[in-house]
Symmetry: C2
Subunit: 283 residues, 2 copies
Protein backbone atom coordinates (compact mmCIF):
# COMPACT_ATOMS: atom_id res chain seq x y z
CA UNK A 1 0.00 0.00 0.00
CA UNK A 2 1.26 3.41 -0.93
CA UNK A 3 1.79 5.31 2.33
CA UNK A 4 -0.02 8.58 2.83
CA UNK A 5 2.38 11.40 2.22
CA UNK A 6 3.23 14.31 4.45
CA UNK A 7 1.79 17.66 3.51
CA UNK A 8 4.19 20.20 4.97
CA UNK A 9 2.66 23.66 5.06
CA UNK A 10 2.76 26.92 6.97
CA UNK A 11 0.99 25.36 9.96
CA UNK A 12 3.33 22.40 10.34
CA UNK A 13 4.87 22.11 13.77
CA UNK A 14 8.48 21.04 14.09
CA UNK A 15 10.29 18.52 16.22
CA UNK A 16 13.99 19.12 15.77
CA UNK A 17 16.05 15.95 15.85
CA UNK A 18 19.44 17.16 17.03
CA UNK A 19 22.54 15.01 16.89
CA UNK A 20 25.81 14.43 15.10
CA UNK A 21 26.34 12.55 12.92
CA UNK A 22 22.78 12.11 11.66
CA UNK A 23 23.21 9.43 9.01
CA UNK A 24 21.86 6.59 11.14
CA UNK A 25 18.88 8.59 12.48
CA UNK A 26 15.78 6.43 12.64
CA UNK A 27 13.25 8.71 14.32
CA UNK A 28 12.34 10.66 11.14
CA UNK A 29 11.60 7.34 9.43
CA UNK A 30 9.16 6.37 12.18
CA UNK A 31 7.51 9.57 13.40
CA UNK A 32 6.95 11.15 10.00
CA UNK A 33 5.13 8.23 8.31
CA UNK A 34 2.96 8.00 11.44
CA UNK A 35 2.22 11.74 11.32
CA UNK A 36 1.30 11.38 7.64
CA UNK A 37 -0.93 8.38 8.29
CA UNK A 38 -2.65 9.93 11.31
CA UNK A 39 -3.06 13.36 9.72
CA UNK A 40 -0.94 15.05 12.40
CA UNK A 41 0.59 18.25 11.02
CA UNK A 42 3.99 17.80 12.61
CA UNK A 43 7.42 16.94 11.27
CA UNK A 44 10.59 15.46 12.73
CA UNK A 45 13.45 17.37 11.11
CA UNK A 46 16.97 15.90 11.28
CA UNK A 47 19.48 18.58 12.24
CA UNK A 48 23.18 17.74 12.08
CA UNK A 49 24.46 19.82 14.98
CA UNK A 50 28.02 19.69 16.30
CA UNK A 51 28.64 19.77 20.04
CA UNK A 52 30.08 23.28 20.01
CA UNK A 53 26.98 24.68 18.32
CA UNK A 54 24.36 22.82 20.31
CA UNK A 55 23.43 25.41 22.93
CA UNK A 56 22.90 28.17 20.38
CA UNK A 57 21.01 25.90 17.99
CA UNK A 58 18.70 24.58 20.71
CA UNK A 59 17.92 28.03 22.09
CA UNK A 60 17.26 29.58 18.71
CA UNK A 61 15.16 26.61 17.58
CA UNK A 62 12.84 27.15 20.54
CA UNK A 63 12.42 30.79 19.56
CA UNK A 64 10.45 29.53 16.54
CA UNK A 65 6.72 29.75 17.10
CA UNK A 66 6.15 26.37 15.40
CA UNK A 67 8.73 24.55 17.53
CA UNK A 68 6.74 21.71 19.09
CA UNK A 69 9.75 20.04 20.68
CA UNK A 70 13.19 18.55 20.18
CA UNK A 71 14.53 15.02 20.18
CA UNK A 72 18.09 15.00 21.47
CA UNK A 73 20.58 12.32 20.58
CA UNK A 74 24.34 11.74 20.59
CA UNK A 75 26.46 13.71 21.38
CA UNK A 76 24.07 16.09 23.16
CA UNK A 77 22.06 13.85 25.50
CA UNK A 78 24.12 14.73 28.55
CA UNK A 79 25.12 18.31 27.74
CA UNK A 80 21.49 19.32 27.13
CA UNK A 81 20.65 18.82 30.80
CA UNK A 82 22.46 22.01 31.83
CA UNK A 83 20.37 24.00 29.32
CA UNK A 84 17.03 22.95 30.84
CA UNK A 85 14.93 25.07 33.16
CA UNK A 86 13.18 21.98 34.46
CA UNK A 87 14.07 18.28 34.28
CA UNK A 88 12.08 15.14 35.05
CA UNK A 89 13.20 12.66 37.69
CA UNK A 90 14.31 10.31 34.89
CA UNK A 91 16.60 13.01 33.52
CA UNK A 92 18.05 13.79 36.92
CA UNK A 93 18.84 10.16 37.69
CA UNK A 94 20.15 9.26 34.26
CA UNK A 95 21.97 12.55 33.81
CA UNK A 96 20.72 12.52 30.24
CA UNK A 97 17.81 13.97 28.38
CA UNK A 98 16.31 12.96 25.04
CA UNK A 99 13.35 15.25 24.65
CA UNK A 100 12.80 18.94 25.25
CA UNK A 101 9.67 21.03 25.01
CA UNK A 102 8.86 24.65 25.73
CA UNK A 103 6.28 25.59 28.32
CA UNK A 104 3.90 28.46 27.55
CA UNK A 105 6.04 30.74 29.73
CA UNK A 106 9.10 29.93 27.60
CA UNK A 107 10.89 27.62 30.04
CA UNK A 108 12.50 24.51 28.55
CA UNK A 109 11.55 21.17 30.11
CA UNK A 110 13.41 17.94 29.50
CA UNK A 111 12.48 14.30 29.87
CA UNK A 112 13.70 10.99 28.54
CA UNK A 113 12.07 7.70 27.71
CA UNK A 114 14.89 5.72 26.06
CA UNK A 115 15.44 3.66 29.18
CA UNK A 116 11.71 3.15 29.61
CA UNK A 117 11.54 2.02 25.98
CA UNK A 118 14.29 -0.52 26.51
CA UNK A 119 12.65 -1.92 29.64
CA UNK A 120 9.16 -2.04 28.07
CA UNK A 121 10.70 -3.99 25.19
CA UNK A 122 12.43 -6.69 27.23
CA UNK A 123 9.37 -7.04 29.49
CA UNK A 124 7.17 -7.50 26.42
CA UNK A 125 9.50 -10.37 25.45
CA UNK A 126 8.91 -12.04 28.79
CA UNK A 127 12.08 -10.96 30.58
CA UNK A 128 11.47 -10.61 34.32
CA UNK A 129 13.35 -7.49 35.45
CA UNK A 130 12.49 -7.75 39.12
CA UNK A 131 15.40 -9.17 41.11
CA UNK A 132 17.51 -9.92 38.05
CA UNK A 133 21.19 -9.14 37.47
CA UNK A 134 22.23 -6.97 34.51
CA UNK A 135 25.47 -5.80 32.90
CA UNK A 136 25.16 -2.47 31.13
CA UNK A 137 28.19 -1.66 28.96
CA UNK A 138 28.45 2.06 28.27
CA UNK A 139 27.61 4.70 30.88
CA UNK A 140 26.83 7.61 28.56
CA UNK A 141 23.37 9.01 27.96
CA UNK A 142 21.62 5.86 26.80
CA UNK A 143 23.47 3.55 29.20
CA UNK A 144 22.55 5.81 32.09
CA UNK A 145 18.95 5.94 30.94
CA UNK A 146 18.65 2.16 30.65
CA UNK A 147 20.35 1.66 34.01
CA UNK A 148 18.00 4.12 35.70
CA UNK A 149 14.96 2.53 34.07
CA UNK A 150 16.12 -0.97 35.09
CA UNK A 151 16.64 0.27 38.65
CA UNK A 152 13.21 1.88 38.63
CA UNK A 153 11.71 -1.41 37.41
CA UNK A 154 13.21 -3.35 40.33
CA UNK A 155 16.41 -4.92 39.02
CA UNK A 156 18.42 -6.59 41.81
CA UNK A 157 22.02 -6.11 40.67
CA UNK A 158 23.56 -3.76 38.14
CA UNK A 159 27.12 -4.10 36.82
CA UNK A 160 28.28 -0.97 34.99
CA UNK A 161 31.22 -0.72 32.62
CA UNK A 162 32.62 2.09 30.53
CA UNK A 163 36.02 2.56 28.89
CA UNK A 164 35.93 5.86 30.77
CA UNK A 165 35.91 4.41 34.29
CA UNK A 166 34.86 7.71 35.87
CA UNK A 167 31.73 7.69 33.75
CA UNK A 168 30.71 4.31 35.19
CA UNK A 169 31.53 5.22 38.78
CA UNK A 170 29.63 8.51 38.47
CA UNK A 171 26.54 6.68 37.25
CA UNK A 172 26.94 4.11 40.01
CA UNK A 173 26.91 6.88 42.60
CA UNK A 174 23.76 8.45 41.22
CA UNK A 175 22.05 5.06 41.13
CA UNK A 176 23.07 4.27 44.73
CA UNK A 177 21.64 7.63 45.83
CA UNK A 178 18.28 7.19 44.14
CA UNK A 179 17.95 3.39 44.27
CA UNK A 180 19.77 2.23 47.43
CA UNK A 181 18.12 -1.18 47.21
CA UNK A 182 20.00 -2.02 43.98
CA UNK A 183 23.43 -3.59 44.29
CA UNK A 184 25.66 -1.62 41.88
CA UNK A 185 29.18 -2.61 40.88
CA UNK A 186 31.63 -1.19 38.32
CA UNK A 187 34.87 -2.13 36.59
CA UNK A 188 34.10 -5.37 34.74
CA UNK A 189 32.47 -6.09 31.39
CA UNK A 190 32.43 -9.83 31.99
CA UNK A 191 28.96 -10.94 30.89
CA UNK A 192 29.00 -14.27 32.70
CA UNK A 193 26.45 -14.78 35.43
CA UNK A 194 24.12 -11.98 34.34
CA UNK A 195 20.50 -12.40 33.33
CA UNK A 196 20.68 -9.41 31.01
CA UNK A 197 23.59 -7.89 29.08
CA UNK A 198 23.08 -4.57 27.35
CA UNK A 199 25.29 -2.91 24.77
CA UNK A 200 24.79 0.79 25.39
CA UNK A 201 27.95 1.84 23.55
CA UNK A 202 28.25 2.91 19.90
CA UNK A 203 30.23 -0.28 19.18
CA UNK A 204 28.58 -1.89 16.17
CA UNK A 205 27.93 1.39 14.39
CA UNK A 206 31.04 0.97 12.23
CA UNK A 207 32.27 -2.13 10.40
CA UNK A 208 35.20 -3.64 12.28
CA UNK A 209 34.17 -2.28 15.69
CA UNK A 210 35.23 -4.62 18.50
CA UNK A 211 32.43 -6.39 20.37
CA UNK A 212 31.37 -4.69 23.61
CA UNK A 213 31.87 -7.86 25.71
CA UNK A 214 33.63 -11.20 25.45
CA UNK A 215 30.74 -13.12 23.92
CA UNK A 216 32.44 -16.47 24.59
CA UNK A 217 31.48 -15.88 28.22
CA UNK A 218 27.77 -15.29 27.48
CA UNK A 219 25.50 -17.89 29.01
CA UNK A 220 22.66 -19.12 26.74
CA UNK A 221 20.08 -18.21 29.41
CA UNK A 222 21.29 -14.58 29.34
CA UNK A 223 19.14 -12.08 27.49
CA UNK A 224 21.09 -9.66 25.24
CA UNK A 225 19.90 -6.14 24.39
CA UNK A 226 21.29 -3.59 22.01
CA UNK A 227 20.98 0.16 21.46
CA UNK A 228 22.82 0.37 18.11
CA UNK A 229 20.31 0.62 15.26
CA UNK A 230 22.51 0.73 12.19
CA UNK A 231 21.58 -2.87 11.49
CA UNK A 232 18.93 -4.97 13.21
CA UNK A 233 21.22 -7.87 14.14
CA UNK A 234 24.47 -6.20 15.13
CA UNK A 235 27.62 -8.34 15.44
CA UNK A 236 27.00 -8.42 19.21
CA UNK A 237 23.44 -9.68 18.82
CA UNK A 238 24.49 -12.16 16.15
CA UNK A 239 27.09 -13.60 18.50
CA UNK A 240 24.61 -13.70 21.38
CA UNK A 241 21.94 -15.36 19.26
CA UNK A 242 24.50 -17.90 18.04
CA UNK A 243 25.05 -18.84 21.66
CA UNK A 244 21.32 -19.30 22.15
CA UNK A 245 20.57 -16.05 23.96
CA UNK A 246 17.31 -14.19 23.57
CA UNK A 247 17.90 -10.79 22.02
CA UNK A 248 16.32 -7.37 21.71
CA UNK A 249 17.35 -5.27 18.70
CA UNK A 250 17.89 -1.51 18.89
CA UNK A 251 14.75 -0.67 16.99
CA UNK A 252 12.59 -2.55 19.53
CA UNK A 253 13.68 -0.03 22.14
CA UNK A 254 13.00 2.72 19.62
CA UNK A 255 9.43 1.67 18.84
CA UNK A 256 8.64 1.12 22.51
CA UNK A 257 9.86 4.56 23.55
CA UNK A 258 7.98 6.54 20.91
CA UNK A 259 4.49 6.46 22.45
CA UNK A 260 5.70 8.16 25.66
CA UNK A 261 7.64 10.72 23.60
CA UNK A 262 4.51 11.51 21.58
CA UNK A 263 2.59 12.03 24.83
CA UNK A 264 5.37 14.29 26.13
CA UNK A 265 5.08 16.47 23.00
CA UNK A 266 1.31 16.63 23.41
CA UNK A 267 0.64 14.68 20.21
CA UNK A 268 -1.74 11.73 19.75
CA UNK A 269 0.06 8.48 20.57
CA UNK A 270 -0.30 5.02 19.10
CA UNK A 271 1.05 1.50 19.60
CA UNK A 272 4.62 0.35 18.88
CA UNK A 273 3.13 -2.17 16.43
CA UNK A 274 1.39 0.54 14.42
CA UNK A 275 4.54 2.63 14.39
CA UNK A 276 6.54 -0.34 13.12
CA UNK A 277 4.03 -1.16 10.40
CA UNK A 278 4.19 2.40 9.08
CA UNK A 279 7.94 2.99 9.46
CA UNK A 280 10.10 3.28 6.37
CA UNK A 281 13.33 1.88 7.75
CA UNK A 282 13.97 -0.18 4.63
CA UNK A 283 15.03 2.57 2.23
Amino acid sequence: MQPRSLRIDGRTELIAHLGYPTHSFKAPLIYNPYFADAGINALVVPMACRAEDFAAVLRSFFRLENARGALITMPHKVSVVSLLDEASAAVKVAGACNAVKRLPDGRLVGDQFDGAGFVRGVQRKGFEVHGASALVVGSGGVGSAISAALAGAGIGMLALFDVNAASATGLAERLRTHYPQVQVTTGSNDPSGHDLVVNATPLGMEPGDPLPVDVSRLDPRTFAGEVVMRSEMTPFLQAAAARGCGVQVGTDMLFEMIPPYLEFFGLPATTPENLRSLARLDG
Copy 2:
Protein backbone atom coordinates in the same frame (compact mmCIF):
# COMPACT_ATOMS: atom_id res chain seq x y z
CA MET B 1 -2.25 9.82 -9.14
CA GLN B 2 -0.95 9.37 -5.64
CA PRO B 3 2.10 11.63 -5.31
CA ARG B 4 5.38 10.07 -4.34
CA SER B 5 6.02 10.74 -0.68
CA LEU B 6 9.03 12.32 0.93
CA ARG B 7 11.37 10.02 2.78
CA ILE B 8 13.03 12.19 5.40
CA ASP B 9 16.11 10.51 6.84
CA GLY B 10 19.48 11.27 8.38
CA ARG B 11 20.89 12.42 5.04
CA THR B 12 18.11 14.88 4.24
CA GLU B 13 19.35 18.39 3.57
CA LEU B 14 17.35 21.33 4.86
CA ILE B 15 16.15 24.56 3.33
CA ALA B 16 14.82 26.70 6.16
CA HIS B 17 11.84 28.81 5.14
CA LEU B 18 12.02 31.73 7.55
CA GLY B 19 9.20 34.20 7.97
CA TYR B 20 6.42 35.35 10.25
CA PRO B 21 3.60 34.58 10.14
CA THR B 22 3.97 31.32 8.23
CA HIS B 23 0.35 30.31 7.69
CA SER B 24 0.21 31.41 4.07
CA PHE B 25 3.57 29.87 3.12
CA LYS B 26 3.41 28.25 -0.29
CA ALA B 27 7.01 27.22 -0.90
CA PRO B 28 6.83 24.00 1.18
CA LEU B 29 3.79 22.95 -0.87
CA ILE B 30 5.74 23.36 -4.11
CA TYR B 31 9.35 22.44 -3.37
CA ASN B 32 8.64 19.36 -1.25
CA PRO B 33 6.34 17.51 -3.67
CA TYR B 34 8.92 18.23 -6.39
CA PHE B 35 11.74 16.90 -4.21
CA ALA B 36 9.66 13.77 -3.52
CA ASP B 37 8.85 13.27 -7.19
CA ALA B 38 12.42 13.86 -8.37
CA GLY B 39 14.03 11.80 -5.61
CA ILE B 40 15.95 14.78 -4.24
CA ASN B 41 16.74 14.27 -0.55
CA ALA B 42 16.01 17.83 0.52
CA LEU B 43 13.24 19.44 2.51
CA VAL B 44 11.83 22.94 2.81
CA VAL B 45 11.04 23.44 6.50
CA PRO B 46 8.71 26.28 7.51
CA MET B 47 10.13 28.16 10.49
CA ALA B 48 7.98 30.79 12.17
CA CYS B 49 10.65 33.28 13.22
CA ARG B 50 9.90 36.68 14.71
CA ALA B 51 11.93 39.70 13.65
CA GLU B 52 13.80 40.00 16.94
CA ASP B 53 15.00 36.39 16.73
CA PHE B 54 15.94 36.32 13.07
CA ALA B 55 19.68 36.99 13.25
CA ALA B 56 20.29 34.30 15.88
CA VAL B 57 18.05 31.79 14.13
CA LEU B 58 19.67 32.33 10.74
CA ARG B 59 23.20 32.06 12.12
CA SER B 60 22.54 28.96 14.15
CA PHE B 61 20.63 27.29 11.30
CA PHE B 62 23.70 27.64 9.09
CA ARG B 63 25.81 25.94 11.75
CA LEU B 64 23.93 22.72 10.91
CA GLU B 65 25.90 20.48 8.61
CA ASN B 66 22.77 19.57 6.62
CA ALA B 67 21.75 23.19 6.05
CA ARG B 68 21.50 23.47 2.26
CA GLY B 69 20.08 26.99 2.27
CA ALA B 70 17.37 29.32 3.49
CA LEU B 71 14.39 30.94 1.85
CA ILE B 72 13.73 34.32 3.45
CA THR B 73 10.33 35.94 3.46
CA MET B 74 8.42 38.66 5.29
CA PRO B 75 9.40 40.31 7.61
CA HIS B 76 13.08 39.42 7.11
CA LYS B 77 13.72 40.09 3.41
CA VAL B 78 15.31 43.48 4.04
CA SER B 79 16.92 42.89 7.43
CA VAL B 80 18.72 39.77 6.20
CA VAL B 81 20.89 41.83 3.86
CA SER B 82 22.99 43.18 6.74
CA LEU B 83 23.72 39.59 7.85
CA LEU B 84 25.23 38.53 4.52
CA ASP B 85 28.92 38.29 3.77
CA GLU B 86 28.25 38.57 0.08
CA ALA B 87 25.21 39.78 -1.87
CA SER B 88 24.27 39.57 -5.54
CA ALA B 89 23.65 42.68 -7.63
CA ALA B 90 19.92 41.96 -7.47
CA VAL B 91 20.06 42.05 -3.68
CA LYS B 92 22.03 45.27 -3.65
CA VAL B 93 19.64 47.06 -5.99
CA ALA B 94 16.45 45.77 -4.42
CA GLY B 95 17.75 46.08 -0.90
CA ALA B 96 16.13 42.74 -0.21
CA CYS B 97 17.20 39.12 -0.21
CA ASN B 98 15.11 35.96 -0.47
CA ALA B 99 17.67 33.19 -0.49
CA VAL B 100 20.82 32.50 1.48
CA LYS B 101 23.38 29.76 1.15
CA ARG B 102 26.65 28.98 2.87
CA LEU B 103 29.88 28.81 0.92
CA PRO B 104 32.38 26.07 1.77
CA ASP B 105 34.40 28.63 3.75
CA GLY B 106 31.35 29.42 5.89
CA ARG B 107 30.47 32.81 4.39
CA LEU B 108 26.78 33.50 3.80
CA VAL B 109 25.77 34.58 0.31
CA GLY B 110 22.40 36.07 -0.57
CA ASP B 111 20.44 36.41 -3.79
CA GLN B 112 16.86 36.98 -4.79
CA PHE B 113 14.70 35.93 -7.71
CA ASP B 114 11.22 37.12 -6.69
CA GLY B 115 11.38 40.09 -9.03
CA ALA B 116 12.76 37.93 -11.82
CA GLY B 117 9.90 35.49 -11.23
CA PHE B 118 7.32 38.23 -11.50
CA VAL B 119 8.83 39.57 -14.74
CA ARG B 120 9.21 36.10 -16.29
CA GLY B 121 5.53 35.52 -15.52
CA VAL B 122 4.14 38.67 -17.14
CA GLN B 123 6.43 38.21 -20.15
CA ARG B 124 5.19 34.65 -20.56
CA LYS B 125 1.66 36.12 -20.70
CA GLY B 126 2.69 38.38 -23.56
CA PHE B 127 3.22 41.59 -21.62
CA GLU B 128 5.90 43.72 -23.29
CA VAL B 129 8.00 45.21 -20.49
CA HIS B 130 10.32 47.23 -22.68
CA GLY B 131 9.32 50.89 -22.69
CA ALA B 132 6.14 50.34 -20.67
CA SER B 133 4.87 52.31 -17.67
CA ALA B 134 4.27 50.55 -14.36
CA LEU B 135 2.86 51.41 -10.94
CA VAL B 136 4.29 49.31 -8.13
CA VAL B 137 2.39 49.72 -4.85
CA GLY B 138 4.51 48.71 -1.88
CA SER B 139 8.23 49.44 -1.66
CA GLY B 140 9.22 46.73 0.80
CA GLY B 141 11.24 43.66 -0.08
CA VAL B 142 9.06 42.24 -2.83
CA GLY B 143 8.09 45.64 -4.26
CA SER B 144 11.74 46.59 -4.44
CA ALA B 145 12.61 43.29 -6.07
CA ILE B 146 9.90 43.61 -8.72
CA SER B 147 10.83 47.22 -9.41
CA ALA B 148 14.48 46.32 -9.83
CA ALA B 149 13.63 43.40 -12.11
CA LEU B 150 11.30 45.58 -14.21
CA ALA B 151 14.04 48.21 -14.49
CA GLY B 152 16.53 45.54 -15.48
CA ALA B 153 14.10 44.27 -18.13
CA GLY B 154 13.83 47.72 -19.75
CA ILE B 155 10.68 49.28 -18.31
CA GLY B 156 10.31 52.94 -19.38
CA MET B 157 8.55 54.52 -16.42
CA LEU B 158 8.12 53.37 -12.83
CA ALA B 159 5.71 54.96 -10.37
CA LEU B 160 6.36 53.87 -6.80
CA PHE B 161 3.97 54.19 -3.89
CA ASP B 162 4.18 53.15 -0.27
CA VAL B 163 2.21 54.28 2.79
CA ASN B 164 5.68 54.88 4.21
CA ALA B 165 6.73 57.61 1.76
CA ALA B 166 10.39 57.35 2.74
CA SER B 167 10.39 53.70 1.70
CA ALA B 168 9.27 54.65 -1.80
CA THR B 169 11.68 57.57 -2.17
CA GLY B 170 14.57 55.42 -0.95
CA LEU B 171 13.80 52.77 -3.55
CA ALA B 172 13.45 55.48 -6.19
CA GLU B 173 16.93 56.75 -5.38
CA ARG B 174 18.48 53.30 -5.66
CA LEU B 175 16.72 52.72 -8.96
CA ARG B 176 17.86 56.07 -10.36
CA THR B 177 21.44 55.23 -9.40
CA HIS B 178 21.48 51.83 -11.02
CA TYR B 179 19.01 52.42 -13.88
CA PRO B 180 19.30 56.11 -14.85
CA GLN B 181 17.41 55.48 -18.10
CA VAL B 182 14.18 54.66 -16.19
CA GLN B 183 11.90 57.56 -15.31
CA VAL B 184 10.99 57.02 -11.63
CA THR B 185 8.29 58.92 -9.77
CA THR B 186 6.83 58.55 -6.28
CA GLY B 187 3.86 59.74 -4.24
CA SER B 188 0.79 58.56 -6.16
CA ASN B 189 -1.03 55.23 -6.27
CA ASP B 190 -3.31 56.35 -9.09
CA PRO B 191 -3.36 53.39 -11.50
CA SER B 192 -4.68 55.34 -14.50
CA GLY B 193 -2.40 55.59 -17.50
CA HIS B 194 -0.14 52.68 -16.56
CA ASP B 195 0.41 49.57 -18.64
CA LEU B 196 1.09 47.50 -15.54
CA VAL B 197 -0.12 47.85 -11.94
CA VAL B 198 1.42 45.65 -9.28
CA ASN B 199 0.20 45.04 -5.75
CA ALA B 200 3.38 44.42 -3.80
CA THR B 201 1.79 45.09 -0.40
CA PRO B 202 0.27 42.54 1.98
CA LEU B 203 -3.19 44.02 1.31
CA GLY B 204 -5.43 41.10 0.43
CA MET B 205 -3.92 38.75 3.01
CA GLU B 206 -6.72 39.46 5.48
CA PRO B 207 -10.46 39.63 4.85
CA GLY B 208 -11.59 43.25 4.84
CA ASP B 209 -8.22 44.67 3.77
CA PRO B 210 -8.64 47.82 1.67
CA LEU B 211 -7.68 47.53 -1.99
CA PRO B 212 -4.15 48.74 -2.81
CA VAL B 213 -5.37 51.16 -5.52
CA ASP B 214 -8.58 52.86 -6.63
CA VAL B 215 -9.69 50.16 -9.06
CA SER B 216 -12.35 52.45 -10.58
CA ARG B 217 -9.41 54.22 -12.25
CA LEU B 218 -7.95 51.04 -13.78
CA ASP B 219 -7.99 51.06 -17.57
CA PRO B 220 -9.06 47.74 -19.20
CA ARG B 221 -5.83 47.65 -21.21
CA THR B 222 -3.79 47.75 -17.99
CA PHE B 223 -2.22 44.50 -16.83
CA ALA B 224 -2.60 43.79 -13.09
CA GLY B 225 -0.15 41.70 -11.08
CA GLU B 226 -0.29 40.48 -7.51
CA VAL B 227 2.14 39.16 -4.92
CA VAL B 228 -0.40 38.04 -2.31
CA MET B 229 -0.89 34.28 -2.49
CA ARG B 230 -3.50 33.62 0.18
CA SER B 231 -6.08 33.18 -2.56
CA GLU B 232 -5.47 32.98 -6.30
CA MET B 233 -7.89 35.77 -7.27
CA THR B 234 -7.44 38.36 -4.56
CA PRO B 235 -10.02 41.16 -4.22
CA PHE B 236 -7.62 43.39 -6.19
CA LEU B 237 -7.32 40.90 -9.06
CA GLN B 238 -11.06 40.24 -9.02
CA ALA B 239 -11.73 43.95 -9.38
CA ALA B 240 -9.12 44.28 -12.13
CA ALA B 241 -10.48 41.29 -14.03
CA ALA B 242 -14.01 42.68 -13.69
CA ARG B 243 -12.77 45.79 -15.48
CA GLY B 244 -11.34 43.66 -18.27
CA CYS B 245 -7.68 43.77 -17.24
CA GLY B 246 -5.28 40.90 -17.80
CA VAL B 247 -4.02 39.56 -14.49
CA GLN B 248 -1.15 37.59 -12.99
CA VAL B 249 -1.84 35.79 -9.71
CA GLY B 250 0.71 35.59 -6.91
CA THR B 251 1.45 31.92 -7.46
CA ASP B 252 2.47 32.57 -11.08
CA MET B 253 5.36 34.65 -9.77
CA LEU B 254 6.07 31.90 -7.28
CA PHE B 255 6.30 29.09 -9.85
CA GLU B 256 8.43 31.21 -12.19
CA MET B 257 10.94 32.10 -9.51
CA ILE B 258 11.52 28.58 -8.22
CA PRO B 259 13.78 27.24 -10.98
CA PRO B 260 16.39 29.98 -10.39
CA TYR B 261 16.16 29.39 -6.63
CA LEU B 262 16.78 25.66 -7.14
CA GLU B 263 19.83 26.49 -9.24
CA PHE B 264 21.06 28.87 -6.54
CA PHE B 265 20.84 26.07 -3.95
CA GLY B 266 22.72 23.71 -6.26
CA LEU B 267 19.71 21.41 -6.70
CA PRO B 268 18.34 20.02 -9.97
CA ALA B 269 15.85 22.47 -11.48
CA THR B 270 12.71 21.87 -13.50
CA THR B 271 10.00 23.85 -15.32
CA PRO B 272 7.34 26.06 -13.69
CA GLU B 273 4.75 23.81 -15.33
CA ASN B 274 6.11 20.68 -13.71
CA LEU B 275 6.29 22.43 -10.34
CA ARG B 276 2.66 23.52 -10.68
CA SER B 277 1.48 20.05 -11.67
CA LEU B 278 3.12 18.53 -8.58
CA ALA B 279 2.25 21.28 -6.08
CA ARG B 280 -0.27 20.57 -3.34
CA LEU B 281 -1.72 24.06 -2.91
CA ASP B 282 -5.28 22.75 -2.72
CA GLY B 283 -5.27 21.20 0.73
